[in-house]
Amino acid sequence: MSVRWQSLIAVMLAGLLAGCGGDASKARFAENSALAKQLLPKARKAVQKTLDEHFGAPLDSVAWLKLPVNYGKAEGTVKSVDGLKLSVEFNKEASDVDGLTSPELARAGLLFTSGVSAGKQVLLAKFDPKTNVFEALQTLDSPPAKDDTFVAAGHFLRHGRKLYARHCQHCHGVSGDGDGTTAKYLNPRPRDYRLGVFKFTSTGSFPAPIKATRDDLKRVIALGIPGTYMPSFVPMLKENELTAIIEYVRWLAMRGEIEKGLITELKGEYSRDRSKDEGIDKSLETYLGEAYPNFVNEIAGEVGEKWSGAEEEGTAITPKKPRTQDTAESRHRGKELFLGNKAKCVNCHGPAGRGNGPMTEDFQKNPTTNEVYAERGLFDVWDQPIKPRDLTRGIYRGGRRPIDIYRRIYVGIKGTPMPGNSQALSEDEIWDLVNYALSVPYDSQAPKLPKPHSVAEYSTEHGHAN
């Protein structure tokens, strides 16, 4: 008995000493191991190193200026210098003054733009938002003087991380992989940002899908996604908090995409199954020393361009004609398109719009690998089974405004088998489909079209009812 007690106490003590989750300050972003395990161990390490260098860790994030992320910057002037302490005044006109008062600036750097330290960065240990006093991490070689100007960058990332950790992480995961602790209980699964694909956007998909804009992400956070577990976060989160979270999510998405890009590139030559090849180590070393750094920049540039491209003027899909009047005729035309071969909606959404079309019963092919899925039904790019929307329920995940439905039909839903129809359908046809889709939940109340006389009408079953 006593031995058992002793061992129990020993276990408890060990537990106390080890703590619960290890050292949080050493937390790292999870690797995309499904992809990374296909690489040679050395190549895998190289990818990790690149990501650590350019993105850092959750608690020690790095603002990679090559990416189109608004890291948040605040301009200001030095008031006085006292050893390590810099008393400053912020430029109130700075557009990002929101969130400035947060201590998030503490671990940011100050970049001096004038005076002896111009062009130099000072790393900070502390920031007191009440007195606006910074404390530098180490003694300054050439201390800035009064009236020197500076830019402090990076507080959105830090503020965003804190908010993300509090509100988003338990579903979307630390690295945005959609695999947080609560994720496994949810259906549909939370979005995995790492493909950089977001479903409900205002941007187009032809010829190539365009990324989500900041406003698209904001709309989703503000309105939630009915029919899923994504709730609305407004009015709980304020404007500056939304901004910070959105930048952080974009940053995570870019990180995931760059990770995937690097792995895909390295996989060509340095996949795991080539570990026995002669001279592969040497070749990898040469590659990492010569072409690789350029490639890292190249892919970051590519990914960045896609994201900044989405923010450009005119990326939002807007109809060229106003909505066709919602008449019985328009709905009827929509219904014919819905059932017809031109739009092919019925193949997935089913004849009554219940989301049970023939495609959902068939084995589908994975469009990227060309392999047939082991199970029946449709799958999205995250390899999750997905159901076509049941239109009779009146729940519209991407919004219920006519323009939202228009965009779903025109653009499709990115990452899912719902295709864009901008090429197949005319403007009028899309509006007819919108009118029909919005009428499906209320089908029984719909005004009846005057029926052309037919034989069936005079059959005994219906009598002469008209």
Partner: protein
Amino acid sequence: MRKFWCLFFMFWPIAAIVYSAMSPAYGWWFPGDSVTELGQRIDNLFYLILIIITVVFIGTQMALGYALWKAAHNEDEKAHFSHGSHNLEVIWSVAPAVILLFLALYQMDVWRDFRVKAYFPEGTIETPIAEVTARQFEWRIRYPAPGKKLQPKPQPDDLYAVNELRAPIGRAVMIQLRSEDVQHAFFLPHLRIKQDAIPGQIIPIWFKAEKKGIYELLCAELCGWGHYKMRAQLTVEREVEFQDYLKKLQTDQNYDGFPTSDSVAKKEE
């Protein structure tokens, strides 16, 4: 030492009373006066009970203190064992029973006005202004189109909002409360309204807000890990503003990328 124990046991009730008396000054109290008349009546009930229990508390504590103090100085008399006093038992059973019965009867009209449908203010039942559906972890709100009645089932022209309930000032209005998943509680602390939302039930709640403002709407039933996220707001505004809001919702909801006649050049957000 005997005196020490007397003082020790007397210190705590006094500390409790001082602490309670200080509470309002430190904001540990109601969030301001109720903005509904019914809420004020609920507050009055609360204060009545507070007064009764304060009197009882002070009385019993003083009696206890007196007994302690007196016994501490009483060297002559010895304690004796007793099987109890029938008269005392009757007194301390009947007295609380009378108080409780009084409260049960006295609060009845407030309860009736708050809960009994037949006593809801005229016009509220026939024309609920909105249906509020709680779900993990948000409040989804459905208004009827301006000039129409809210139907139990969604209608094509219904208007939808999330986490933002609006109501006109000075008019008794009713909402229908539902839950889509688990049990939630619709809590408007400034209006003194707290009502559980139960899956499968439609529960009517009425209120008549007398003061313009934005009030917190919270979930007051632990409904899951995201319970804290259910922080919405109730905006009480003038009737005209409320109608304008509904019209704006309608315009937004019918937005097809083109400005309509009632929204001048609304730019795509």
